[in-house]
Every structure is written in C-alpha cells, then in structure tokens.
C-alpha cells in the first residue's frame, strides 16, 4: 500500500473513531436509552443529562487513569522491589539512592534547575513581553524569541554545541575568547557553573513560552490602571514592578509552575550535552541510566522526582479548588 495513503487512512480512522464515539454514544443515549418521548419526556431528558457528563468524561478519565494514574501507583509498587522485580525490599532502593554520591549530585543539581530555570525563564519572558509590547516590530521580535520552542531538545542541544564547543573554530564562546587571545575553555567542564550553562539552553527555549503567555496577560491589564499610575507619577520601573507585575501575579505563577513541571521532565539536554558527566547530572537523566536495567531504581528515582514536585502539585490542586468555590 502506498505509504501516504496508509498514513491518511490511519489518520482518518484514528480521528474518525474518536468522533464516532462521541456522536454515537450521545445519539444512542438520546434516541434509545432515554428518548425524549413518552408521557414525561422531561424526566427522560433529565435522566439522560445525568448520564451525559460521564459520556463526555469517559475517554478522558479512562486515558488519564490508565496512562497516568495507574503507572504512578504501579511504579511506586515497583520501586519497592529489587532490580529484577522478584524480591520485595521496601525502601531499599531509596536508601541506596540517597547513599550514592551521584544521586546526591543529581538531586542537588535538580534543585538548582528547579530554582533557576523557571525563575530565569519567567523573568526574561516577562521582560521580553513588556519590552516587545511597546514596539512596532514587537511581533517579529516575539516570533524570533518564541522560535526555540519549535526546536526539539536534541536539536537545541546541537545548536548550543555551536556555542559551547571548545574548538574555537566551532564554538562561539571560544572564538570570542580566542579573539581576545584567551585560552580556549570548556564551559561544560567548569565545576558547578557548567550546570548553569546547560540551564541556559532550557531557559533559551522556555523564555518564548513565558513571553507569549505573559504578554497576553500584560495586555489584559486594564489600561486605566496604568494611566492612573502615570498620572500618579510612577516612572516606568515603578509602573512595571508596582502596578503591572502584581496584577499579573496569577499568570506569572502559572507560567512558573508549568516550567517547573517541565524542568522535571527534561532529560534530553543533559543527556546529549554532557551525558551527565562533569557533575551535571539531574534526576531525569540520572534515571535514564537505570531505565531498562534496574527498574526498581529507575522508578524510585521517578518517585523522588514526583516528591520534589509535590509542593507544586498540592499548590495547584488548592488553586483549582479555590477557583471552583
């Protein structure tokens, strides 16, 4: 079969099946199970309406349960077993992890990432949003800053090799150093700071994301409050930090959270740039070194990751509940 045809067919089947489910399930509910007929159609309609939310929710609940909730529980269980999964060892895997230097490095680095990347991305995104909003060519600037979002993490790592490479004919940094007559330097080997050079890559990617959302939020600020502040004599900095930023605090927090969550999932950058060497390992990439080898430990690392995000998660749930009330 022609691959294009096959591709189109699979697409049609996949999407079509999904549409068919919703259409048919509703159709059957309204037409056969609780038809709006008979002597009290209102009652039937009401009954149908009690079932309907679950029809609507079912695929999502099912997929979420199966693809996220079940693995979380299953993995936790798995993390209590040994390497080959045949012996229950309680928190042995966790104990081993915390005893290991590499894990501690990864854990510490991960905390650095969590603190630094969301903060920097959000801040730069905010700055970019505010500055570009005022410019005539702001939209072009925005598009360019957003562009890294479209690049895969692996592609991004590659791009940054052209900046970090030691060879002064490839790496931009060393080319600049070279032109000042300085020795080439491998920035990825500078202890501690190399973490930041890796973080820069993720920040580079995520700033666009933060910018787009925050710029939308900034535009949502009532113009009048800004004008009022101008009349009150606020200078541009006071205007920005005392009037605009507080008003979009909610959005800033959402952006911050989203990026934090992302930081905990991204392993590609470290994996491809340094392979976790030179003291740059982080938990997700550390976990990769156990994947498919020692599932007990791999899942234990995953759980540590989850626990690191737990505050963010609880905070988010609280937020959602508050909003509901």
């Amino acid at each position: 079969m022609n691959p294009i045809f096959q591709g189109v067919l699979t697409i049609v089947i996949g999407v079509g099946g999904c549409i068919a489910y919703f259409y048919l399930s509703n159709f059957i509910l309204d037409r056969f199970i609780f038809p709006a007929k008979g002597k009290d159609p209102g009652k039937n309609i009401n009954r149908a309406n009690q079932v309907r939310p679950w029809l609507f929710m079912f695929p999502a609940v099912f997929a979420l349960g199966l693809y996220l909730a079940y693995p979380v529980v299953g993995s936790f269980w798995r993390s209590l077993y040994n390497r080959s999964g045949d012996e229950f060892i309680g928190f042995g895997n966790y104990a081993n992890l915390f005893a290991s230097d590499e894990f501690q490095t990864a854990f510490f680095n991960n905390i650095l990432w969590i603190l630094f990347v969301p903060a920097a991305s959000t801040f730069l995104g905010l700055l970019a949003a505010q500055l570009t909003d005022k410019l005539r060519w702001g939209n072009i600037a925005k598009s360019l800053i957003f562009m890294p979002m479209a690049i895969s993490f692996v592609g991004a790592s590659l791009i940054w090799k052209f900046v970090y490479a030691v060879d002064e004919d490839i790496g931009l940094i060393n080319a600049v150093r070279d032109s000042f007559g300085m020795e080439p330097l491998d920035v990825l080997q500078i202890p501690f700071w190399n973490n930041f050079f890796l973080m820069v890559i993720l920040i580079w990617i995520q700033t666009g994301f933060a910018m787009v959302i925050l710029s939308a939020a900034l535009r949502g600020i009532p113009e009048e409050t800004i004008e009022a502040a101008i009349i009150d004599g606020a200078n541009p900095f006071q205007l920005f930090f005392k009037i605009m930023v507080p008003q979009i605090m909610g959005t800033i927090v959402v952006v911050w959270t989203t990026i934090t969550v992302l930081v905990l999932k991204v392993f590609d950058i470290v994996y491809t740039m340094t392979g976790g060497n030179f003291g740059t390992d982080i938990l997700p990439s550390y976990m990769m070194s156990f994947m498919f080898r020692d599932d007990g430990r791999a899942t234990a690392v995953a759980f540590v990751i989850m626990i690191v995000v737990l505050p963010v998660m609880i905070w988010n749930i609280r937020q959602a509940r508050k909003e509901l009330r």
């Binding site: 390497r83 081993n96 290991s100 230097d101 590499e102 030691v166 060879d167 080439p184 491998d186 990825l188 080997q189 994996y271 491809t272 340094t274 392979g275 976790g276 060497n277 030179f278 990769m288 070194s289 156990f290 994947m291 498919f292 080898r293 020692d294």
Partner: protein, 429 residues
C-alpha cells in the same frame, strides 16, 4: 536485488554459496533483523544479506539504530522482537538470554565455532550464557570483529619528522616525548560520545590491562573476581593517564580530552601543521576521517605495542557483533547457517571494515593490504580479549566505568574512581 559481486567472479568461495543455495528454499519467507549498524555499515550488511536472499529466496529486512540496545530491550518487552538481533555487546545478550528472550543456537553451532574460528574456544566462551533455567548454552554467533589495539598516524607526517613506527610500548613512550620535544603534540584523544561519553578511555585502560597484566587477571577483572579498585586496575588507568592527563601530550590539553567528540578527535591528524601525530582507535574510525582520505596512503596504522619488559606477548583487544535469534523461525535458523559459510564473510571482507577469525574465509578477497594487515594483527595475536566494558554488567561497563573515566580524565584520582565503580558493582550483585 543487485549483488555486489557477480557469483563466480573473483577469489570468493562460491562453492559454499552454491552449496548453501542448494540446501534451502525459503521463498516467500522473510526475516527481520535489527542491529546497531546504520549508514554505510548498514549498506554493507545488506550487501551480505542480498546473497542470503539470492540463495534462499527469502526476504531480509534490516533496520539499524544507534540506540539499538534500548530498542531491543523495548521490543522484547513488547514481544515485537525481530527474528534476529545483532548485539554489539555480549552483556546485553546475556541479560536477554537469562530472561529467555533468546533461542539457543545448539551444541552443533558451538562445535562449529570451536573448530572454525581462530581461538575458537575463547569465542565459544564469549558466546555462552546462562539461560532462563540457569543452564549454560551458546546463544549468540560472533560475526564481524573489530580490532581495538590500533594506533592511526599519517605516514607523511612521520616521514617529515623522521619518526619510526614504535615496536614496543617503551618506544611509543619515547616517541611521545620526542614529538613534544620537537614542538609537536603527539596524541589526539576524544572521549565525547553524548550519553556514552567516556567509552574510548575504557578501551585504553583495557589495552593497558592486557599490557601490564596476564590475561587471567583481565578475565578476573571482567568478572569482578578481583575488585575494580585492585592495584592492577589502578595501575592500568594510570598508564592511560600518563598519555591523556599530560597537557603536552594531548591536543587541546588534558581537559579537552573529556569533551572532544571521539568522532571529531582524529581530524587533528589531518591538519597542517598537524595538531597531533597519533590517534588510538578501533578499526571502524576511518568512517570519520575527512572525505577522500585514503587509508594506506594518506593515513595508516600500527599495532598498539606491548611493553618489552613485561613479556606478555602481543595481546589484542577487540570487539565484535553477535547474532542472536530473538524470534525463532526457519529462515532465522537458516540465516545462522548462512553465517557459517565463508561467502557470508568474504562479501563484506571484500568491501571494507570487516575482520573475521574464520580461517576458511579467503584473505585474498580483502581489497587492500591495510585490511589484510589488520586481519593479521587479529590472527597473529598471542592473546585476544574481548572489550571488557562490553562484558561487564551494563551499569558498570556502559555506565559507571564510562563516567568514572571521565571523572578521572578531569582530575579525579584513579583510586577514588575505581573505588566508586567497585561500590556500584557491589550494589548490583
């Protein structure tokens, strides 16, 4: 299918081909093969399978992946394993064998290897693992060997400076010093390889082990009978360090070694003036030489020599790929049989980058002396040992050992590094 060499032509062992063709008719059947070969290697391999297809009428679908190790684990877990998997490391194959994912190849194949491969017993040992029931059986078929104890150099650069090919390790060390004295840089070393960064250093250390310790110690090291932090290992690492941790000896300085990509490292040989004069790397490396570089003319190699004073003969470190049946079928069995024919080796030999311990394969088909010489290093070896890191458990050989070497390269002490690796090893036992 177009065959690379017309049957009947050249010095190939066409009889074996005809005979094989006579035995099998598998028309309509097909086999899936996955392996680590991509790009050029993958083309070469398919040029071999073409003969299998021609002989049996079966179809062979090969797909290669750079992350073959992960893929094969996933696909065996998913029960969608190919018929045959080509393992670059015995370690992983042994894992899968113990989980019952591999089909044993039988005693008769083991005998065949013992008889027909040079140093046959060591090959059979290498290919024999414990099955799911704990019983030791032959599970993989070694095919296509790489020799690692090789140093690449540019003959013209040597000529200009009047350097001689060193015959012993002592001479090599002298030459290294000599080059520095002449104002040059002797070595290009690069450990970078993405997530696998560090592995080239493990080859150095293994070669040094073979040159400082008897092969038995090497074997004990591989199985952790002597601890990883044994003075013998520490010594071997420090031998490597003699070369790599001296800023004058390595291009870019010791620090650059850790981050230079192993694929970029040899390019220093070809600069003017040369950024370095020697590069130790396995037989596959010419793929990464600049376009148009002709091996034998523009670049050549010599055996990474042994210490004269140690009297350990000519040890050779190597690696190789192992064929295993991951999803049994008639055609898969036939394919293993096909690998026993000389023609299956000769086709690849006649092109490039293929070495084999199979005595019946005719060395005359090698396209160049270079290849023949290489194969000779293999066949003249007094000791042949398989890459230790490939034999160690994955966490060590493809994990802790790699990162340990990076740590060592960037300044950590050999004792510390080996101590940590040993700790790790103990944890997984």
């Amino acid at each position: 299918q177009n065959l690379e060499f017309e049957p009947g032509s050249g010095e190939f062992n066409w009889d074996s081909f005809d005979q094989f063709a006579g035995q099998y008719d598998l028309s309509g059947q097909s086999i899936e093969i996955t392996g680590p070969w991509t790009g050029l290697d993958s083309d070469l391999f398919t040029s071999v399978t073409a003969y299998f297809e021609e002989a049996t009428g079966a179809t062979v679908n090969y797909s290669g992946s750079d992350s073959f190790e992960q893929d094969i684990v996933i696909s065996t877990e998913a029960d969608s394993a190919p018929n045959i998997a080509v393992f670059p490391q015995p370690g992983l194959a042994s894992d899968l064998a113990s989980r019952g994912e591999l089909t044993p190849l039988g005693e008769e194949t083991a005998d065949w290897i013992r008889e027909n491969y040079a140093a046959g017993d060591s090959w059979v040992d290498l290919a024999t693992f414990a099955g799911p029931d704990g019983e030791e059986q032959l599970y993989v078929f070694p095919y296509k060997i790489d020799v690692k104890s090789i140093v690449w150099y540019v003959p013209e650069a040597f000529e200009e400076m009047g350097y001689e090919i060193p015959e012993t390790m002592e001479e090599l060390k002298d030459l290294t010093q000599q080059i520095v004295d002449d104002g040059g840089t002797p070595w290009c070393i690069g450990l970078g390889s993405g997530a696998a960064t560090g592995w080239p250093a493990t080859d150095w250390v293994e070669d040094m082990m073979l040159r400082t310790q008897p092969p038995e110690v090497y074997d004990q090291w591989v199985t952790n009978e002597i601890p990883f932090d044994d003075p013998a290992v520490v010594n071997a690492i420090e031998e490597y360090g003699w070369f790599s941790r001296n800023d004058d000896f390595v291009s870019g300085g010791a620090e650059a070694v850790a981050s230079t990509d192993f694929r970029d490292a040899p390019s220093g040989l070809f600069q003017f003036p040369p950024e370095c004069y020697m590069h130790k790397q396995a037989t596959f490396i010419p793929t990464f030489f600049p376009e148009g570089t002709e091996v034998g003319l523009d670049v050549d190699f010599f055996y990474f020599p042994a210490y004269e004073e140690q009297d350990l003969g000519r040890p050779v470190l190597g690696a190789g790929t192992m064929f295993a049946i991951t999803n049994d079928s008639e055609a898969a069995q036939a394919f293993v049989e096909f690998l026993k024919t000389p023609i299956a080796h000769e086709i690849w030999m006649a092109q490039s980058g293929f070495l084999t311990p199979y005595a019946d394969a005719n060395p005359a088909v090698f396209p160049s002396d270079v290849q023949r010489n290489l194969n000779q290093i293999l066949t003249e070896a007094t000791t042949f040992r398989f890459d230790a890191s490939d034999l160690m458990p994955g966490e060590i050989g493809a994990g802790a050992f790699w990162t340990g070497m990076v740590d060592y390269q960037t300044g950590a002490g050999a004792e510390d590094v080996t101590g940590q690796i040993q700790d790790r090893w103990e944890q997984i036992q």
